[in-house]
Symmetry: C2
Subunit: 338 residues, 2 copies
Amino acid sequence: MKISELGEFGLIDRLAQAFAEAGRPDSLLIGIGDDTAAWKASGVQLITTDTLIEGTHFSLRYWGWRDLGWNALAVNVSDIGAMGGTPEQALLTLALPPDASVADLDELAAGLVEAGREYGTAIVGGDIVASDTLMVTVALIGRATVDTEGEPLLMTRDGARAGDVIAVTGYLGDSAAGLRLLLDEKQADPEAAEHLRKAHLRHRPPLAVGRMAARLSVRAAIDVSDGLLQDLGHVCRASGLGAVVRAAAVPMSPALVRSFPGQALSLACSGGEDYQLLLVAPGHTIQQVQRVSKGPVSIIGEMVADPEHRARLLDATGKELSLPAAGWDHLREAPWRK
Amino acid sequence: MKISELGEFGLIDRLAQAFAEAGRPDSLLIGIGDDTAAWKASGVQLITTDTLIEGTHFSLRYWGWRDLGWNALAVNVSDIGAMGGTPEQALLTLALPPDASVADLDELAAGLVEAGREYGTAIVGGDIVASDTLMVTVALIGRATVDTEGEPLLMTRDGARAGDVIAVTGYLGDSAAGLRLLLDEKQADPEAAEHLRKAHLRHRPPLAVGRMAARLSVRAAIDVSDGLLQDLGHVCRASGLGAVVRAAAVPMSPALVRSFPGQALSLACSGGEDYQLLLVAPGHTIQQVQRVSKGPVSIIGEMVADPEHRARLLDATGKELSLPAAGWDHLREAPWRK
């Protein structure tokens, strides 16, 4: 069945039912089905929004509808995590070709519900519109982590100080490598291929690490979504500093290094869509984060005075490396949009 | 200059500057330029989102970019108003063809700033993505009106009771008539044409009336966006009631009646995009709203017991009228998309 046969209100009812089964937060007063959602709030609220567009951010040639649902929420969870916050209410905007199938929409909803369970969020409203272009937008509300006095503990791009060390969670470059495998641009052994593809199909922002880092007084962070060096560049400009990153310290998975021997560093530094967390703080603070974090947290460099606010990658001899790709600009490039 | 020459981050900086000039609310801790926005909240928060897509909701053949900016915010203000709330923070998602011009984007920003000044909202974040389809999404946060004890006063679709009267603000049908003039489907005298076109190009939700109605204990409301009878139908189903509307009481502007003598009632009852407010409450409560409202508030019918939950239009003899169009379903129709 096509969604146009179900109609706008039939589709809203169907999605509302799928989301209702995933549970409803206690603070929610009004959910899907009225002019607005409503919830009881206190303290500091956070909000972010990110859109995934077919042809620009993904292709259904290699993402399933369920991956699309999961990732549409996960990329927003990543931003709330980079503030050290806890995501709560989500709004979902779907721009859908009228010939999309109801079965595909059910898969999309299932992916959103799965990610919602994983990260503790509920979809409380949204909008559905007809469009030639498939587009999924999530606006995600969260609450800030607070100290014992109730003051918000926010990690911002402008919170870095000269001498702070730079750390990153997990491995970088896997998602970009996985995309190349999904596009059949490259082969890899089955185990590595499985790991890398999964990194691209299911983004897994390390939400708990963000919250923990905020509690441990990390004051500067950003999520790595456009590529390590580009995102670190945002921290540099906002903080009025430069950054040096030691290439040998950039965390890369064995699967990445094995499958992309010549390109691994480039993918790790500017591949994009990692959805890992970059943390900037004094060394002893980062060490505390490392001690309590379940996953890897790697120290990769430090913040330095630099009037040009550059994020530079250095080799073992201290010489600057220049990489082929400079990061991701959504208005300029969409490399697989051919 | 094309926006692709400016790049994603250049465009974000340009928009951020335009929005910053419009002012920044005191409660805002972090605005555009970080992973999330952050603000101090208390009480009950409201959120809504609405998208405008070229070809489905509008065409640049007759909307200017400034109209697009204004309306993208105004349609969301309308939803917050229908809850009796006060809009505050907005997120803006732009899906833009890379060959869009920077001058057009400046106009769009100017329309958003104008509407933001009018309704007291600030754009605190968002997302910009490349797309073949032009699309503007706003997610708007507001706060609920509260009583003297701090309890929220919310107007919902399920708050109607049998015997409540139905009232509507302003005039209905002007916007749909204006669209037909803009599409050159019809002629009108210059004065009427100006009034009707303006109703379509600049939606003006009566925000203050919504807040006032909530304070005066109106407990059921909806904004009239898809057409009077369809939106009233949502109230009927949510409240488990029926509604009767007297055709002669439906408020129509002299310009509409003069220019569309045969179609005025149909446009007023199911034309859509009115962004007026439908209020449902006991007669004495609606009379209080009428006394304090600056603009017209017309009583058009009442809620009745009806197991079929119909919203019916009656002529002067009490006979049911059936209208050619039944309302608006975004997945099924886009009449000017030819």
